[in-house]
Structures are given as C-alpha cells and as structure tokens.
C-alpha cells in the first residue's frame, strides 16, 4: 500500500506539471495518442521478454518522433491519428502472437496501481524527476512558444524544436505513468486538473502549483475509493477529471457573470 501511495504521488506531480503545458498548447490529442500508442510497446516487450517499462519507453519515444516528423508535412491532427493507429496496429499483431497476455492488457489499459512492484519504483521516480526538471529548464521558452508562437520565434525560440522537446517530455512522462493509471486514462489526469487550475488563476506558476495539488488529490481519492470498492482506479480518475473540468467551467461562468453585473 505504501508503494501505491508513493508511486501515485510521483505520477500526480508529473501529470500535473506536464499536463499544464498540454492544456496550454491545446495538445490534448497528442497527450492522448502517445500513451495509447505506447501501450503497444508493452505488448511487444512481453513478446520478446524484456521489461515492460523499456517497451513502453521505446514505443512512446518512437511515437513522439513519428508525430513530430509526420506533422512537418501534413496537418498535426492527421499525423497524430495516423501515428496512433500504426502503433496500435502493431500492438494488435503482438497480442495475437501471445496467448497468456490477456489479463495483463486490462490492467495496462485501465490501470492497476496496487500491482506495481518495489523494483519498479526507482525507474519511475527517475523518469519523473527527469520530466519535471526538463520542463522547468525550458519553462520560459516553452511558455512563450505555447502562448505566442510568433513572438517566441521573433525572440529566437525555434517552434519546431520546442514542439519536439515537448513531445519527448510527454513521451517520458507517459511511459512511467502508464503502468499506474493505465494507457487510456493517463490523459484524464493530464488534462482534468490542469484545465481546472487554468480557469482558477491566470498566473502560470500558481496554475502549475494548483494543477499538481489537484492531480494529487485526484489520485489519492481514486486509490482510496478503488481500495474500498475494488473497482478499477481508472474509473475514479476519469470521472474525477471530468468533475474538475466541470467545476472549472462553472467557476469561470459564475465569475464572468458577476463581472458583467458589477460593471
């Protein structure tokens, strides 16, 4: 149980920090496609008999680079969709080669936080630290590039390079959070809390902090509820994410209504 809490906290911090930029850049599709594509890597890893985390990492990075490469020549949503389906197609091929893998698919897709083993904590913590540090190092140029791409370009921030950095950060964050909350729902954790934080404050650092705190609250509640009811963690994460988003939207509309009345 202690492992579960530790891991979940790391995951929440990473998802909160990286997710802030996902929301800011409107990159929901990318944040969704990379984890789902990486899931195929886990199937591949179990086929050749290496660690799941390695398979996830390789596929997440490959997916991020393929999205970056394809979107230079075509629209980015099309590039993302095609990358995703190619990775998933490979995943279905790998799955058809193994027969004993079926129960594990469910946990990889929908999360199994209580099933994380002790020797997985260290790589996950290292990956998480790497993501957060990388985000903080390029915080200012990435922020400028996300909000005002033209101004950033005029200041000498290369748009394509920032995009690539961002994609790689998402890929690393993905491959380490995936075994905990599951491929299909990492993404709820990455956009629900940050979207709520964004509607509470306009200061970037404060929003980042709130987003991390809300993500932590989400994961802790989800684990506790899942432990009590024995229902999958993914269900609680998904529903709570949507609740945060709804709360944020309601707050914004209430505030704007009050602002209209005051003037």
């Amino acid at each position: 149980m202690v492992h579960a809490w530790t891991i979940a906290t790391i995951v929440a911090i990473v998802a909160g920090v990286v997710g802030f930029f996902v929301v800011l850049r409107g990159a929901a599709f990318v944040a969704d496609a990379v984890p789902q594509g990486a899931f195929a890597g886990a199937a591949g890893a179990s086929l050749v008999g290496v660690s799941t985390l390695l398979g996830l990492g390789v596929f997440a990075l490959a997916g991020a680079l393929l999205i970056g490469w394809l979107s230079r020549r075509s629209r980015s949503d099309v590039a993302t969709a095609l990358t995703l389906v190619v990775l998933l197609g490979l995943g279905s091929l790998f799955l058809s080669f193994t027969t004993e893998y079926a129960p594990e698919i469910f946990s990889l897709l929908f999360g199994e936080v209580l099933g994380v083993s002790t020797n997985e904590i260290l790589p996950i913590a290292a990956g998480g630290l790497l993501c957060v540090l990388a985000t903080l190092v390029i915080f200012r140029p990435l922020l400028l590039n996300s909000l005002m791409p033209e101004l950033a370009a005029a200041r000498g921030v290369r748009g394509s390079r920032m995009e690539l950095c961002f994609l790689v950060i998402v890929a690393v964050a993905t491959s380490m959070t995936l075994p905990v909350v599951g491929a299909l729902l990492i993404f709820s954790l990455m956009i629900g809390p940050p979207a709520a934080a964004r509607s509470l404050t306009s200061s970037p650092l404060l929003a980042l902090l709130i987003s991390v705190l809300v993500a932590m609250a989400t994961v802790w509640t989800a684990i506790a509820a899942s432990f009590e009811t024995d229902w999958p963690v993914g269900f609680f994460v998904g529903v709570l994410g949507a609740c945060w988003y709804a709360a944020g939207r309601i707050w914004v509309s209430l505030r704007s209504r009050r602002a209209v009345r005051d003037t």
Partner: protein, 299 residues
C-alpha cells in the same frame, strides 16, 4: 498463371463464408468511413473521431453487460457522446480538443467499470479483446441489416447536408451569414462520424477504427483538392485497404510464428498508413502546379 493465382489467393478464399461476410461488411464500412472521414479531416475533427471510437468501447462493454449486440452499444454511445461534446464544446479549436478529451476520459472511466463487471461476472477476459481489437472473421451474418441501416443513415446525412456542411467546414462565418444553422450542421456531422466509427469498430475494433476514418480521407485530400472527388478517392482507398487486408490475413494462416493467422486489423491499418506515405511521393502530384505554387510572382 494459375500458380501465381494460387499463391495470391490461398485455397478456399472464395469459398469461405466468413471471408464473404468480411469482404461485404468491411467493404461497406470502408466506403462509409471514407465518405464521412473526408469531412472529419476537412473540419479538423480527427480527434473527435478518435474520441468517439474510444467512447464506443463504453457502449460495447455496456452492451456485453446487458446482453445486446455490441453494434447497438457502439452506435448509441457514439450518438450520445456526439451530443455531449457539442453541448460543452467551445468555439475555439483548442478548447474543443479539451472538451473532447474530457468527455473521452469520463467515458473511458465508465468503460473500465463496465469491463471490470464483464470480466468478473463471466470470468473471461475475451470481451476486452473482442471489443478493443475486433475481428472481421467473427462478424455474424445477423448484423448485416443493422450495418446497412446505419451506413444508409450516415451516408444520407453527408449527402443531404453536403453543401451547407462543406461551406460551414471551410468558413463558419460565411455559412452563418448565409443563414445556415452552423451548430445543427456541426451536430449532424458529429453524428455521422459517430455512426461511421461505430461501424468501423465492429469490423476492425474500436481503437483502430480511427485508421479507416482518417487515413483514406487524409490520403485522398492529398491527391485532390476537390471535396467530392476526395470522398470518392477515400472510399476507393479504404475499400482497397480493407479487401487487401482481408486477403493478406487469410493468407497469413500459414505464416510463422503460430500458424494461426495474423490479425486483419493489423493489415488494414498498415495498408492505410502505406497508402498515406505513398501519397506524399512527389511524382504523384502534378509537378508543374507545385512549381507554380512555390514561386508565385514568376509563373
């Protein structure tokens, strides 16, 4: 000659009933996905298509739970989700993606719960795989009327609303000024996408149905800039990918490592991607036109 023929079409390909069904249903689905997908790509709604596909997992797993055909689960959830997405959707594209993602996340949470109940009540994990990855060779003949009906509805929406849909895809402001009810058209388009995705989910599995929706349409829009022609091309490309995929999957029953066949979905997706990459080859595009575009003043 017959040796080559025999090498391409493995024995029994034309006599097998599941193959006939796969060709028929798969072909129909590919045509619908191609036509609807053209609008999905034009309107930048690839993500909505993908999210609707994922959400049909919720419908599929729910229908397993109450014991109705997954197709109705796919279609019902798809249409409901399209409505919710439009209701909370914001005008800006960035906001729209977020709204789409939130609906998708909540829907998948429900799917996790349904699948959990499915697996604990029946003690098998087969449902998960069937819903997620599907297989064209396991389609039962009884779904054909439903497939035909849903295809007809999706195609009817696209063809009846063709001109207002096109105008509102290119310029929402202009369409609004012309008195077109942009919002209604938007919902209709999402419903058509949801139906197409539900059909594709049945044949190649929910999480791969995006391939048939986006891939052929994106390829077609690279080949031509005329929307009508692009719809035709998309349908043809989708059809080619599906049928070749079925053929290869049938042949693959003699391939290593297990001699139990490779998944149809894998072949279809790979073919769609290969077609897309091929369409980027420069010689397929009219060369002169490209040169003119690159140096405007001089041509």
């Amino acid at each position: 000659m017959s040796a080559i023929f025999g090498a391409i079409f493995a024995t029994g390909f034309f006599g097998s009933a599941p193959v006939h069904l796969a060709l028929l249903v798969g072909g129909l689905v590919a045509v619908v996905s191609g036509a609807v997908g053209t609008f999905a790509v034009l309107r930048g709604q690839s993500y909505a298509g993908h999210a609707l596909a994922d959400l049909s997992v919720t419908g599929g797993s729910g229908s397993f739970l109450i014991g109705i055909s997954p197709l109705w689960g796919f279609a019902g959830t798809g249409v409901a989700a399209a409505g919710i997405m439009d209701m909370i959707g914001i005008r800006k594209p960035r906001g729209r993606d977020l709204a789409t993602g939130i609906v998708r996340g909540a829907g998948l949470g429900l799917a996790a719960l349904f699948l959990y109940w499915d697996t604990t009540s029946t003690n098998t994990t087969g449902a998960t795989i069937t819903i997620l990855f599907g297989s064209m060779f396991t389609i039962s003949g009884s779904v054909i009327p439903a497939v035909a009906l849903l295809s007809a509805i999706a195609l009817a929406i696209i063809f009846l609303g063709y001109r207002p849909l096109l105008l509102s895809s290119v310029s929402a402001e202009l369409a609004f000024a012309r008195g077109i009810r942009v919002r209604l058209i938007g919902i209709a388009c999402l419903v058509a996408i949801a139906l197409a995705v539900a059909l594709a989910a049945l044949s190649i599995g929910t999480i791969l149905s995006t391939a048939l929706l986006v891939g052929p349409a994106a390829t077609a829009l690279r080949l031509t800039s005329r929307p009508g022609l692009a719809m035709l091309w998309a349908a043809i490309i989708g059809l080619a990918a599906t049928w070749l995929g079925v053929l290869l999957a049938y042949d693959s029953f003699t391939w290593p490592p297990q001699r139990s066949g490779w998944p149809v979905s894998f072949f279809v997706v790979t073919l769609v991607f290969v077609f897309y990459l091929l369409s980027a080859l420069p010689r397929l595009r009219p060369r002169q036109q490209r040169r003119l575009r690159r140096t405007p003043g001089r041509g």
